[in-house]
């Protein structure tokens, strides 16, 4: 049985008339990497601040390793935090920054030296101990912040969008390093981000948040392939939404003459239904070339967006609804707006939305 290290029970936090976090229930297990994912304003940072103790809940309790820490100030919670701006002390050297937490715990000098050296080695910054944070690049500062938070072996590591300030390449590099370090140290981690790629690649579980609530809490694959709510389906990955009526257990009619076979779940007969399908599942073929597939649906290209490795194709179906598809570049034949195309929509690729 996994041991719960972080627990939030019924946590609500209001800021004046705004309810930032609404009756949140969340458990993070020992050694787990959990991401809080959502758009700005969804309450993910507030949730992190509740765990850290920077903000008190209006209602509810917070437990760390079984202890009720609600009301306890941040310095007494034994956590490690990496801030989005890193918050390295500009007047202290890298060494002193990392040593800060150990000094607060009255560790003996020799031990401080040893553990700081270890921590700096862990983040590969050994030679930079004497420098000031201002002399380091963004990526290096981020690693110092990580070392500083880990050196005194806290119970939980909290990260508030730590990679947001880095450029794309550095971000991807750091992502890998972060995961490796987290696994090697085995520390329970809560990671706040608005970047779904980060969340999907780093997490053991993801909590997708919206308007102060958790929309879905599950492993990355489940979140992506079986989004539980419309919000999650929209937020994670791109998707197109098609509206129609269920005319059979496995058929949806978009407009008279245009039906789709859907294999997701038994459909409510006669009811209006909303289907989502991810662009990468949509096959885009040029009409007039090759055999027509029984599942193929005809349409016309209305927009093309070049993305480098792919081109996103927006196709209008009979009846006016649009579907997004992706074509790998370089495309076999050149695409143009108004071109007729044939779309393959695999029945099992559809997600039925609530």
């Amino acid at each position: 049985m996994a041991r719960a290290i972080v627990e939030l029970h019924g946590c609500t936090r209001d800021f004046g008339a705004v309810r930032a976090v609404d009756g949140l229930e969340l458990t993070v297990d020992e050694g787990e990497f959990l991401s809080l994912l959502g758009p700005s304003g969804c309450g993910k940072t507030t949730t992190l601040n509740l765990v850290a103790g920077f903000v008190e809940p209006t209602a509810g309790r917070i437990l760390i390793d079984g202890e009720d820490v609600t009301g306890r100030p941040p310095h007494a919670r034994g956590l490690g935090v990496v801030f989005q701006s890193y918050a390295l002390f500009p007047h202290l050297s890298v060494f002193e920054n990392v040593a800060f937490g150990l000094r607060e715990r009255r560790a003996p000098e020799t031990e401080i030296h040893r553990r700081v050296a270890e921590a700096l080695a862990l983040v590969r910054l050994d030679p930079h101990g004497r420098q000031r944070p201002g002399q380091l690049s963004g990526g290096m500062q981020q690693r110092v912040a990580l070392a500083r938070a880990l050196v005194y072996r806290p119970r939980v590591l909290l990260l508030d969008e730590p990679l947001a300030a880095l450029d794309k390449r550095l971000r991807e590099e750091m992502r890998g390093e972060l995961r490796e370090i987290q696994r090697s140290v085995g520390i329970t981690t809560v990671f706040v981000t608005h970047d779904q790629t980060e969340a999907l690649s780093l997490s053991d579980r993801i909590a997708v948040m919206h308007r102060g609530r958790i929309e879905q809490l599950a492993a990355p694959r489940e979140i992506y392939e079986r989004p539980a709510t419309r919000f999650v389906a929209d937020f994670i990955g791109g998707s197109s939404v098609l509206r129609g009526r269920a005319i059979a257990r496995d058929r949806v009619e978009l407009v008279p003459g245009l039906t789709l076979r859907v294999e997701a779940q038994p459909l409510p007969m006669g009811q209006a239904v909303e289907l989502a399908i991810r662009p990468e599942r949509v096959g885009v073929g040029l009409r007039g070339g090759g055999e027509a597939d029984a599942e193929a649906v005809g349409g016309r290209i209305v927009a093309l967006t070049y993305l480098g490795a792919q081109t996103e194709v927006s196709v209008e179906l009979a009846g006016g609804q649009r579907v997004l598809g992706l074509v790998a570049e370089p495309a076999p034949t050149p695409l143009a707006v108004s071109q007729p195309v044939s779309l393959t929509l695999p029945p099992d690729a559809f997600i039925v939305l609530e």
């Binding site: 850290a52 103790g53 920077f54 100030p73 941040p74 310095h75 007494a76 034994g78 956590l79 490690g80 935090v81 801030f83 701006s85 918050a87 390295l88 002390f89 500009p90 007047h91 800060f100 937490g101 607060e104 715990r105 500083r148 938070a149 005194y152 909290l158």
Partner: protein, 259 residues
């Protein structure tokens, strides 16, 4: 081009009197002439040995030191409270803190004199120090406030997350980072208090007289260049302090001209 000349003239106008005073201080005779007929240090000797100046200088030193040392923690506390405290009456507090700057010197001076009489403190230095603290506090608070504004509050959260209690956070993080504002504030306090004249004129007597008041009395009664000598010493001291403040903090930042 004309602009440069005009500005040079104006700057010369602003600094001319100071130059004249310094030159006159070396005048060998009591009758002032600039340029002087020769060079002499006799007036410096006179200034430094004049008993009333010596007593006044000591009084100034004590009063200024006391006022500056008191105003610094009070002003720092106020700056922190105003910037971080999320007070509803913040504007009111700011106005109150800055109010001594607005009151005419003679009104404040007379008021403090009346207060001293009412408290039976006419012969003591207490009211003088209290008045100086009140007059100097706005400058200190403002200087420190500039530093507080530039202080990233996330740093204090970081310290807390690392296990530092609020007091230790203040000592290890906040205070070191406030240093420029604290130094500038202290220097401001010293300069303003050392030069304070109008209010002090009302409150002091011959025993508690501070240096500017002693100088004033001298000028009213005598016309020899002793006053030029002591003025030169005064100028040297205050220019040094102003230069020090610029080196440590950058005056442009303190007066918010670098936006």
């Amino acid at each position: 081009m004309i602009g440069r000349v005009v500005i040079a003239l104006l700057v010369a106008f602003m600094t001319l009197p100071t130059v004249v005073v310094v030159i006159a201080s070396f005048n060998p005779t009591a009758i002032m002439s600039v340029p002087p007929a020769g060079l002499s240090l006799r007036w410096y000797v006179n200034a430094l040995t004049y008993p009333q100046f010596r007593r006044a200088a000591v009084n100034s030193l004590v009063a200024t030191a006391a006022a500056a040392l008191l105003a610094l923690p009070i002003g720092t506390a106020a700056a922190l409270a105003l910037e971080r405290g999320r007070l509803r009456a913040r504007n009111l507090w700011t106005t109150l803190l800055l109010s001594p700057l607005v009151v005419p010197g003679v009104a404040a001076g007379l008021g403090f004199l009346i207060l001293a009489a009412a408290l039976g403190l006419l012969r003591s230095r207490t009211v003088l120090v209290a008045a100086h603290v009140a007059l100097v506090l706005p400058f200190v608070a403002r200087s420190v406030w500039v530093s507080v504004r530039n202080l990233d509050p996330t740093l204090e959260r970081a310290a807390a997350s690392l296990g530092a209690t609020p007091w230790r956070t203040f000592r290890r993080v906040t205070l070191p980072l406030l240093r420029p504002g604290l130094i500038a504030g202290f220097l401001f306090a010293v300069v303003v208090s050392a030069n304070e004249f109008v209010v002090s004129l009302f409150i002091v007597n011959r025993v508690t007289e501070v240096l500017p008041v002693a100088m004033f009395t001298y000028v009213v009664n005598y016309t020899d260049p002793t006053i030029a000598a002591i003025s030169s010493l005064f100028i040297a001291a205050t220019v040094t302090i102003v230069w020090l403040t610029d080196r440590f903090v950058g005056l442009a930042a303190v007066f918010r001209l670098d936006r």
